[in-house]
Structures are given as structure tokens and as C-alpha cells.
Amino acid sequence: MSQTITYREAVREAIRKAMHDDERVFLMGEDVGHYGGCFAVSMGLLDEFGPERILDTPLSESGFTGAGIGAAMNGMRPIVEIMTVNFSLLALDQIMNNAASMLHMSGGQFNVPLVIRMATGGGKQLGAQHSHSLEGWFAHIPGIKILTPATVQDAYDMVLLALADPDPVLVFENPLLYNAKGELDTATAPLPIGRGKTMREGRDVTILSYGISVFKALEAAETLSREGIDAEVIDLRSLRPLDDAAIMESVRKTHRILIVDEGWKSGSISAEIMARINEQAFFELDAPMGRVCSAEVPFPYARHLEQSAMPQPEKIVASVHQMMEES
């Protein structure tokens, strides 16, 4: 069964399917119900499932995220929606000290089958308190998994993969993708958590990326191909665990690596990927690895400033050029 739908619809359909299939699944968060969902993802679900399973919460990120953990420990399969990643800072105590630690700290007794979805990323001119990309930063935390759907297929699959996982999974959706259309195949088994996906084969350089940056990488690859540079583009899909095998395989193939991520540069997931390649495939490298991240600034409102703070296809192309010169 294949159909063309939007990324938003894909997330919604996955939630619907899960709620139909499993009475333990419910959705909880700010404005998921009566408002219709901050980005309209959950539009219509309140009517379909009722207020017992589509819970509008008060503004209390720590409280309802923690409630999600407790409900998960007590037999439910909650989906907690945090509107925007900057607000998730209010829930970090619950995420790190409880969700991520519970199973290990209890000696294996209490797992936390919780899904936390949130919006991430800049580009909407929302300023310094609504625009950051912290998914790579969250990937530092052992005990949780981090998924970053880029495609319509993954927007759907990842909700279900996350729900099927016995441990806490954070899914980061980029609102700029919600209107993107794509093919959804619900018949084939999804690519598991922890597996990257090659979006474009290439021989000269590998561009590793995830989320919305994948499309910028693909755009850059097109430009590069017109210049005769054949770039491979890999969608990492999951930031914790990372698909080391796929990464190293591509390093051994192209010997040049550029990583693109929308997080701030210092301490980015790009740095971690560089560290791993250094550790696992150092002698395969023909040139220093490169990264295109966001400028290390609280994101500004003005469009020209914000756009210049973010990774762009032109910067990716320029970084590849530089790398080709260096090797």
C-alpha cells in the first residue's frame, strides 16, 4: 500500500494506527486536543479518540513529561508531545534523571516505554527561544534513543518504531517539513532504529546528515555533480544509536567526509561523528573532515541573519570544494 501524503499526515496516521492497534497508547501535551495541535499534527484526533486518550495538558513540561514516564512504567505507551525543543529544557530533569536512568538504576526492573515527540529547528524567524536544534545534544544521554525523521516514510515509521521500543525514544520533527509531500509505503517493514540510509550514492565525498539538512545536502550534491563531483548523501536517521557501520563503510568508499547538522557547532553531533571516524577509520581519510553546522549564536529573528546562521546548500558546496583542495 503506497500513497502520497504530507509529513504531517504521516505522523498523524502513525499515531492513529498505534492508537487503534493498542489501547495503551495515548497522546498528551499542550494543545494536542482542542486547539488541534500546535502544528496541526493531531488535528481531528480528539474527535476520533476522545479526551481520555488525547490529553490537553497545562503548561507544565516537567510535570507531564514525568507523568508520561510514570504512565509508561505502569503499563501504558504514552506519546508525550513537547511543542518545541527549547521548552524541553524544562523537562530535562525528568528526561535525564528519570527516563534515561530508570532501567539501569533499578537494576533492570523498570523500563520506560515512552515516546517524546517535539519540534526542532530554525528557519521560521521565531528567535532565540523557539529555534534551536538540540537533538544532537540530547544524543549525549545514555538510556534514551534519538530519532530524526527526514522523509514522509520515516515520519510515519519512526512513531511506530519508537512505540515498539521498550525504552524512551525522542523523535524530533522539523516543522518546516510538515507540509512536505512524499510516498508512504505501509506494507514494507521499516528500517530499524539505528540504521542510516543512503539517499544518494557517490564516490568522491560523503555528506552525512539528518532531518531537514538531508535535503540541503541533496541539493548541494546536485550542484556538485554538475561540477563533476560525485557526492554520497547519507541520512543518519538516528543520532543515538548512530549507524557506525554505515558511516565507516562510506568513509572507506569516498575517503572524504562532510557532516551537516543544524545544531551549534561546538559539541555538535558532527563532532561526535568526526571523533568516531577518527577512531575507527582514521587511515582511510584523504583530507580533514568538514562540518557545516549552525553559527554559535542564539538564533536571531531577522531573516537574513537567521538564514546566514544556518547550514545552506551553498555552504555545503563550498565546504566540499575546500575539502577537495585540501586532499
Binding site: E30, D31, G33, H34, Y35, G36, C38, D56, T57, P58, L59, S60, E61, S62, G63, N86, F87, L90, K124, Q125, L126, G127, A128, Q129, H130, A295, E296, V297, P298, P300, Y301, A302, R303, H304, L305, S308, A309
Partner: protein, 324 residues
């Protein structure tokens, strides 16, 4: 009160300024001159204007992302606010903040905060500093009914009451946090009585009636300045427009909005003035003209503004080096 019509003219003028300014913003948003989130204050004008009226220049003000009205009432110029929303260097935050992050040091306007309740601990700290330094200043924090559920609200109220800080909490209860009605977010929907549990002085006032708001705020500020500790003022109000520009308003009935429009703060003040025979003196037409000129000037200023150079993107991540 009724004798002082100059005062009331000024209130009316400020409320009209906010109203027309925001109406203009909607227009400019549709032309894509303004981007990002745009939260309108229309319907709630009496709160900002009434409360600011009670403040002195040295007092400090913090507000939320719905703060055009507060900024204007505090005296931040319409020009610099409009330029801010255009993303121009001449904006009150250099174009970096936009609608949600208006800042203005000269009028001690400390933002413009887009994390709900996130400004409250800051307000506590500002008041703490004043108390420590024995400055006779008041800090005012504006926030919505939705903020009351947040842990930061709780921690802030407790600290303020515990340390008896010179702070005025103004809760603008417009019945909704985005699309979630107060009854779905608070087990106790009387927010003033909830606040009173922190052992601070807490009052409820009709937020559509500027005379009442101004009176309550004046009394509150006087009590605070006298050293009697913090005050919580719940202003019962309503926003006439959608939460932001992306809101289908599925969560409330049109009739509810219409009912509240009968309590439009502009109308309420007009009626009050008509009753006391002062409405004519106010010169509403003149005010509209005056305001239209201010707004036109603001738009022109914003249009002619410049963009911050890209090289300056990283400026002010840290303070500029000061030569020792």
C-alpha cells in the same frame, strides 16, 4: 477620578495606539513585512495601560511574547517596535528579537520573553537586587493564565513572598492558553485565590475596565513601595483575536468572542466618560489622527531601516571586550 479627564484622554490615546498599531501589524503580516509569530494584544489593552500608569520611570517591566501593548504603554517608541518587527537594525532589539522579544533599556523594559513563565524568576531577581540595594523601585511582571501551571510560576511566587520582594505580578487571565481553556489547565480557576496561598496580597480586577485596573495597580504599587511585599493582580480579560497568526480558533465559540467584545476596553472607557459627560472633551477623532500619524511614521521608519550586517551575527554573543 472623574475630574481628571486629561489622564483618561491619555489612557484612551494609549489604548487606541496599541489597537491601531496591532491592526497595522496584521496588515503588514499579510504583506510578509512582519514574520515569525505575531501575538496580538487586542482586547487586553486596558491591562498594560492601566498598570504602566502606576509606575515610575525607574521601575522595571517584564512581559511575555504578547507584549506590543506593554512596550507601547511603557513608552517604547512605536518606531523602534515596528522596525524590530521588520527585522531592522533600528529596531529596539536590533531586529534580532522580533515581535516576541522587544527590549528597551532606556525605558527599563526587560522583554519580551517567549518561554511561558520564564520571565518570572528574572523579575524576582530584579526585585531582589532593588531590595538589596535599598532602591525604592518596583518590578512588574506580566504573564498569562497559562503561566500559572508552570513550576517557574510557583517557585517565583514563593521566593517573592518569602523574601518580601517589591514585585507586582500581573496575571492577564484571558481564559485561554493558546487553545486550552483555563478549566482544562487549572484545578483552581480562581487564580488570585491560588496566588493568595503563597501568603501574598492577591486581587482580582475587571481587566476590561481601565479605571479599575489603574486604581488597583496604583494601590498595589503604593503598597509595594511602602515595603509591604509583593502583590498579585489577576486581570480578567479576553483576547479578541486568534492566539497567533496560526490559529483556527476551534476551541471557542464565536458567540463567546462576541459577548466579550461588548466589554471592549475602548468602549468601556468611552461609556464611563459619556456617563460623566467628558467623552466629548477627549476628542476621539483627534486621537485617531494623532495615532495614525504615529503609526505611519513608525512604518516609514521601519521601511527605511537598515539590515544588520551579516558580519555582526556573532556580535553580542558575549559582551564586547572592554579595555581594562
Amino acid at each position: 477620578m472623574a475630574s481628571d479627564w486629561a489622564q483618561e484622554r491619555e489612557w484612551y490615546r494609549q489604548m487606541v495606539l496599541i489597537r491601531r498599531f496591532e491592526e497595522k501589524c496584521v496588515e503588514l503580516y499579510s504583506y510578509e513585512k512582519i514574520r515569525g509569530f505575531l501575538h496580538l494584544y487586542i482586547g487586553q489593552e486596558a491591562v498594560a495601560v492601566g498598570v504602566m500608569n502606576a509606575l515610575a520611570a525607574e521601575d522595571g517591566v517584564l512581559a511575555s511574547y504578547r507584549e506590543h501593548g506593554h512596550a507601547l504603554a511603557r513608552g517604547v517608541s512605536a518606531k523602534s517596535i515596528m522596525a524590530e518587527m521588520y527585522g531592522k537594525l533600528e529596531g529596539c532589539s536590533r531586529g534580532r528579537g522580533g515581535s516576541m522579544h522587544l527590549f528597551d533599556a532606556s525605558s527599563r523594559f526587560y522583554g519580551g520573553s517567549a518561554i511561558v513563565a520564564g520571565g518570572l524568576p528574572l523579575a524576582v531577581g530584579m526585585a531582589l537586587a532593588d531590595k538589596m540595594m535599598k532602591r525604592n523601585r518596583v518590578t512588574v511582571a506580566f504573564f498569562g493564565d497559562g503561566a500559572v501551571a508552570e513550576g517557574e510560576f510557583h517557585e517565583s511566587l514563593n521566593l517573592a513572598a518569602l523574601w518580601q520582594l517589591p514585585i507586582l505580578f500581573v496575571c492577564e487571565n484571558n481564559l485561554y492558553a493558546m487553545g486550552t481553556a483555563l478549566r482544562y489547565t487549572e484545578s483552581e480557576t480562581n487564580l488570585a485565590s491560588k496566588a493568595a496561598a503563597y501568603r501574598l496580597s492577591a486581587h482580582q480586577v475587571d481587566g476590561m475596565d481601565i479605571i479599575g485596573v489603574a486604581k488597583a495597580a496604583t494601590e498595589a504599587v503604593a503598597a509595594i513601595r511602602a515595603g509591604n511585599g509583593p502583590v498579585f493582580l489577576e486581570c480578567l480579560t479576553y483576547r479578541f483575536r486568534a492566539h497567533s497568526m496560526f490559529d483556527a480558533e476551534l476551541y471557542r465559540e464565536k458567540s463567546e468572542v462576541e459577548t466579550w467584545k461588548h466589554k471592549d476596553p475602548l468602549l468601556v472607557l468611552q461609556k464611563r466618560l459619556e456617563e460623566s459627560g467628558q467623552w466629548e472633551k477627549i476628542g476621539a477623532d483627534g486621537i485617531e489622527k494623532e495615532v495614525a500619524a504615529i503609526i505611519a511614521e513608525a512604518v516609514e521608519f521601519a521601511e527605511n531601516g537598515t539590515l544588520e550586517p551579516l558580519e555582526d551575527l556573532e556580535k553580542f554573543v558575549y559582551s564586547p571586550e572592554v579595555s581594562a
